[in-house]
Symmetry: C2
Subunit: 350 residues, 2 copies
């Protein structure tokens, strides 16, 4: 999906070169230009491209500061971002970063309201943002689930982030849980493992059913029979992972690899395997899910895991929202339901 940004409408072409001019001269998209000049940390733009952009900036005398000055001159456009607990819990904060970096690159400021699970506060948040004339609203959940956004959200373009509504009437981006579970299991299969335990979550949420379905799909492709006793459902935290691993490993014919519903369960699996004097990955391979950096990168050995693409989903939500804002007719089309791939993060536990 590309986003058409008509800079000419918003700046005085006679007085200074635009971001579009820089993009044309450098032979890159305006997104790339904005990422480079705003020094967006996760944009992963090749050094060589960055140089080309800066050369174009210099040649044209483009002044990136104009972005901020434009905003300060009361031409600010704002996007509302309503979240349940994202800004107040450590799990999914990168979604805000992704949304914000992308929005700022397009001269939009994100106004966040974090509502918790309080339905009244959600309704107030929508009203307050509409009053403050945001151009659109992103409505985000801390984890992939169904939501019931207040109706007035439909008065402006809106995108659901890491959540969806039952009738699919609003565009949405969520992680592809099935593909993630499938990839994680295939990583273990490719290493020669044939008895793979699955530590599942016991909550009935899309991640639970999706990752499990992916696990079964991968086993099926390798013609490995599904064994009930290789699956244990437990609480999705360290204690749950510890107990589930103990249960799995103390069977007569224990698994040689563990796929954990999330990194916190993997943390418990590590503690249980250590207790049983089993080394990772030599005795038992472990793969997690979520790539909760603060855990996964700091476990010993560092944990191989599937990343929840929080940053990228945040970007996608803003990109799609800007598309809807600029193309009113797009709201006549069926609302896009986007599933985003979860990349494999290879460390040392498989």
């Amino acid at each position: 999906m590309s986003y058409n940004w008509d800079m000419a409408k918003r700046t005085n072409k006679a007085t200074r070169p635009s971001m579009r001019d820089v993009a044309q001269l450098a032979g890159v998209s305006q997104t790339t230009v904005s990422f480079v000049i705003n020094n967006v940390p996760d944009a992963n733009i090749p050094e060589e491209t960055q140089e080309r952009v800066w050369e174009a900036v210099k040649e044209l005398g483009y002044r990136p500061n104009a972005l901020a000055r434009g905003l300060r001159a009361r031409r600010t456009h704002t996007i509302g971002f309503i979240s349940d607990e994202i800004a107040t819990t450590p799990y999914a904060v990168r979604m805000i970063q992704g949304a914000q970096d992308f929005a700022w690159g397009f001269e939009k400021l994100l106004l966040l309201v974090n509502t918790g699970r309080n339905q009244e506060m959600k309704e107030v948040a929508v009203d307050v943002l509409l009053e403050r004339q945001v151009d659109g609203i992103i409505y985000a959940a801390m984890y992939h689930r169904q939501v019931f956004p207040p109706d007035p959200i439909r008065e402006v373009p809106a995108v659901l982030l890491d959540c969806y509504c039952g009738d699919r009437s609003l565009p949405s981006v969520v992680p592809d849980e099935v593909a993630g579970g499938y990839t994680a299991t295939k990583v273990l299969l490719a290493k020669g493992h044939r008895r793979i335990g699955y530590l599942n979550n016991e909550d009935p949420i899309p991640a639970t059913s999706g990752r499990w379905q992916g696990y079964q799909k991968a086993l099926g492709e390798w013609a490995i029979p599904y064994e009930e006793n290789l699956i244990v459902a437990a609480r999705s935290d360290q204690a749950g992972g510890y107990d589930a691993t103990m249960a799995l490993m103390q069977q007569p014919n224990p698994p040689t690899a563990l796929f954990c519903f999330n990194d916190r369960m993997a943390m418990g699996a590590y503690d249980a395997l250590r207790k049983l004097n089993l080394s990772i990955p030599n005795d038992v391979a472990v793969i997690g899910f979520d790539n909760q950096e603060i855990i996964a990168a700091h476990l010993y050995p560092p944990l191989t895991t599937m990343e929840l693409p929080h940053y990228q989903m945040g970007q996608w939500a803003v990109e799609h929202l800007l598309h809807l804002i600029d193309n009113p007719q797009a709201s006549q089309e069926p609302a896009v339901q986007h599933k985003m791939a979860c990349p494999l993060i290879e460390r040392s536990s498989v």
Copy 2:
């Protein structure tokens, strides 16, 4: 500090009872009433008090929903909350929760702008919030440090949260680092430890000097000489904690207890001690700092640590801001520089 809330000014007394009426009948403060009826999770209000509040609500026919309806009737008051990276990193998000719960209890909605370290974005954020006529602004940092807020912030009442400005001209709340380091060290001294290693951070920030100073103060009180070789400064993460612990424990006369600058360094200390076949707390006691729940509660054994009072600092900032908003003459007084105590969280590592 108490906050005077004149509900009578804002509601139609003739038509329905006010929160003040409920408070008077229940014999509690309006803060307590608002916490109870909004079900604020961390308010720690005794069951018995909660019952008294609900009885008063029932007796008077007070309708808490009126709060939300009041807001929806466009009498919303908003507070701006500018943060650097709080909403996008997992470290200090509870500050937002504390601020939000308190604000919501007083019919204020928090409008958040997360700016990263981008100075231009900070300036835009202040302008955008002032344009949107917030009643005041909280300016918050992810960790305790000096900040340089844009000047226009002074157009409305403002409070600095987890940060301070050099000339102390704006009110501020930060953790009491010295008292925290002092308490942590005393906990180890009280358990009989006399050789206490200190894993310090190498960054020159207030937490580094403060916690270290607290460590020295406690040793001094117990007349234990300060030994240079019991202090190792390293990166404030798992790898730094691992290396520092290896260096400390492989000395001829190693410490019997470790005070770690933060929980991430403690995580590395755990890994190093395990590698050295030393058990926690029997061979070596470990105490951390920060109470980063996702680590501290889930290490094995669970980590005893000092809590950064993020939630409480967030509350304090809003409480003080509301005081300034309602008492314009208060801005003539010297700006309050509040240091908040860091509570000891006892788990199993000491």
